[in-house]
Amino acid sequence: MKAMLIDTTRCVGCRGCQVACKQWNGLPAEETQFFGGAGYQNPRDLSSKTWTLLTYNEAQVGDHYDWVYGKLQCMHCQEPACAASCPTSAMEKLAEGPVVYHTSRCLGCRYCMLACPFQVIRFDWFSANPYVSKCTMCADRVLSGQEPSCVKSCPTDALVFGDREILVAEAHRRIEENPRKYVHHVFGEREVGGTCVLHLSTVPFELLGYRSDLPEKSLRRWTEPAMKPIPYIVAGLSLALGAVAWIVSRRDKRMVEKWVKQVKEMQ
């Protein structure tokens, strides 16, 4: 399974990845605004036109304040909540790694958006024929043996692409070689069952806008116990309710017979 390693300590904030993503996927530019609050990036957040976004965060690094860059995009979970929840399997995990979106099957129910633990799916709120959208890991490129467009564009190798196991090992190697530079955690290695986008950082991941409190088990582990019993319930109820109907019909029959007998005796 392929994956991407994002080493934010190598990132210089050039946003080549953000532009390359738009170019490869034919996404239009976006009108942007200054905004208050955390972050100094442009635009402020992911949208249906911006599938990956470089965030500019001011954070304390060692003894000084510095810019720390983060990259928002779909994490391509190993057991994606979006794919588990989509009623039509419009979101699908490919064996090669990418989680892809089959536009033509989508109902626009937005259940995937609710389910996604990383908040990366966006919706066309002002369209009469809306779709959801998210990074596809350039599945078309990956399936033909190339690396995603953003990785290709990265001038400092902050982004690298390859087999997931190799990249996980590589991430740990970097931490071990430079334990003071990195937070001792590979974000994405275990979160919600592991993802195919791995992050290394020099500041705690919350400062880059990631949730640090996600469970390690896949979110499917919660829905499975509710979905598995369905056939048992159907078969069980078919049997039990039929039996009830039988018993009741016999009781009714006996009651009617008794009643008829009483009427006859009275006559």
């Binding site: 957040d45 992911l46 909540a81 794919a83 588990a84 929840s85 989509c86 009623p87 039509t88 399997s89 419009a90 033509s104 099957r105 109902l107 626009g108 129910c109 937005r110 259940y111 958006m113 609710l114 389910a115 633990p117 908040q119 966006r122 919706f123 066309d124 709120w125 002002f126 009469a128 024929n129 809306p130 779709y131 959801v132 806008g209 949730r211 979110l219 499917r220 919660w222 829905t223 499975e224 116990p225 509710a226 979905m227 369905i230 056939p231 319930i233 159907v234 078969a235 109820l237 078919s238 309710l241 039929g242 109907a245 039988w246 009741v248 019909s249 016999r250 009781r251 009714d252 029959k253």
Partner: protein, 425 residues
């Protein structure tokens, strides 16, 4: 056709309903022309909101009376509640139609809904919900058809209906099992069980209910059980977003149990209100017996809800001063504790006035609960909290008003509360 139609009229009382329906209609046009963002406050952080809470979660729970009463009367042999069955089925049927309209408004591309028939995702509760709804709406339609046949005196169709319905049900439940499990073994098993019951009835081994095919009622119970609970399962995928007071692995059980409470409450409420509107006498003696189930259900719910809150360690959140705690107390006090106390007394259960009041508490509490679960309880980090826009609320109210008007028309023109057509009375 027999008899003239009693035409709908705009009166002082229902003018508001017409206005709301008209406003809702205009807003729906805007929504379909310009997108969901034009009329709602939903956003990428809060993709679900008021519509899901009210039209779908609450609406479906309110319609639970249909399967409960149909099951009691035609399967569990509680024949004395017969008079409650038709109105409950009609309410449920209209409730589901409203729900489908609500869903069509909420879905981005509702015209693609047929896709769920061809791309089966066994792991998605949403997939289960959409199948159950389709199936159960069909069941309700079939259950309601005899009323239409009677209205037009189509006796021969009624005979055909009795003959055809069991086969349709066997087909539906079997197909459903295949879609849900993807397993031939389960599918065959369910098919065989249903077929055996039907054969038992056709050969006279087992008596059939004179009015409703047993299999039809069974299917109603099966689909309802499954999808009342699977509406709760929808929330299981968001342990990271749902407030601990609401998130629990047994949320499907709570949804089913509370749907039964709310359904019973709604049957009482609707019976009394429509009796008043149509100047009929409500079936108070029946409702009194029916309401005896409520203290049991409410007590059970309270017990396991509180037990579960302590079990998951969420109890501390009950005693904080924030919207979640207030929301939880509100739904428990209004929807469970007050009606529990009320319905425990015989006075409440036998007085029309108090039956109505008690049922209002149950129904209101149920609606609060469902809205809470998708609005109050959903917390998405870094996003400004979501509040429904007035247009979202107006659309829901518009759909509901339209539904009430249609219901009123049907009750006036079809033999719903009485087995005889209204005009023959």
């Amino acid at each position: 056709m027999t008899g003239a139609w009693i035409k709908p009229q705009i009166t002082r009382y229902n003018a508001v309903l017409y206005l709301l329906a008209a406003l809702g209609f205009v807003l729906v046009v805007i929504r379909f022309a310009g997108g969901i963002g034009r009329v709602s406050n939903l956003n990428d952080g809060y993709p679900w909101g008021f519509w899901i809470g009210l039209d779908i979660l609450a609406g479906i729970a309110l319609a639970a009376g249909g399967f409960i009463v149909a099951g009691m009367v035609h399967l569990f042999g509680a024949h004395k509640y017969h008079a409650l069955a038709r109105p409950a089925i009609l309410t449920a049927f209209l409730g589901y139609l409203l729900f489908i309209i609500g869903l069509a408004i909420d879905l981005g591309r509702p015209w693609m809904i047929w896709q769920v028939l061809f791309h089966w995702n066994h792991s998605s509760p949403m997939f289960e919900v959409s199948w159950c709804v389709t199936m159960y709406t069909t069941v309700l339609l079939l259950e309601f058809l005899p009323v239409v046949f009677e209205r037009f005196r189509w006796r021969h169709l009624l005979g055909m209906w009795h003959n055809f319905v069991p086969w349709a049900i066997i087909l539906m439940v079997t197909l459903f099992t295949l879609a849900m499990s993807g397993s031939n073994v389960w599918t065959l098993l369910v098919f065989t069980i249903l077929l055996l019951w039907e054969v038992a009835m056709r050969t006279g081994l087992m008596r059939r209910d004179a009015q409703m095919p047993v299999l039809l009622v069974m299917a109603g119970i099966i689909f309802s059980t499954l999808h009342q609970s699977s509406l709760g399962s929808l929330l299981l995928i968001i342990p990271h977003k749902l407030h601990p007071l609401w998130f629990t692995p047994v949320v499907p059980v709570f949804f089913l149990l509370s749907a039964i409470m709310i359904g019973v409450g709604m049957v009482i409420f609707e019976n009394i209100v429509s009796a008043r509107v149509h100047k009929r006498k409500p079936d108070t003696h029946l409702l009194a017996g029916f309401a005896r189930a409520l203290p049991v259900l409410l007590g059970l719910y309270l017990l396991i809800k509180v037990g579960d809150i302590f079990r998951t360690g969420a109890a501390e959140y009950l005693f904080m001063f924030n919207s979640a705690a207030i929301g939880m107390w509100l739904e428990l006090v209004v929807g469970v504790m007050i009606p529990l106390v009320l319905f425990m007394t015989t006075e409440t259960r036998t007085s029309e006035k108090w039956l109505l009041r008690g049922s209002v508490f149950v129904v209101a509490g149920g609606i609060i609960n469902r809205l809470n679960t998708v609005i109050t309880a959903v917390v998405v980090e870094k996003w400004a909290p979501y509040h429904p826009s007035w247009m979202e609320i107006a659309i829901s109210l518009g759909v509901l008003s339209g539904g009430i008007l249609v219901m009123d028309f049907i009750v006036r023109n079809f033999p719903v509360f009485d087995d005889r057509p209204a005009l023959a009375r």
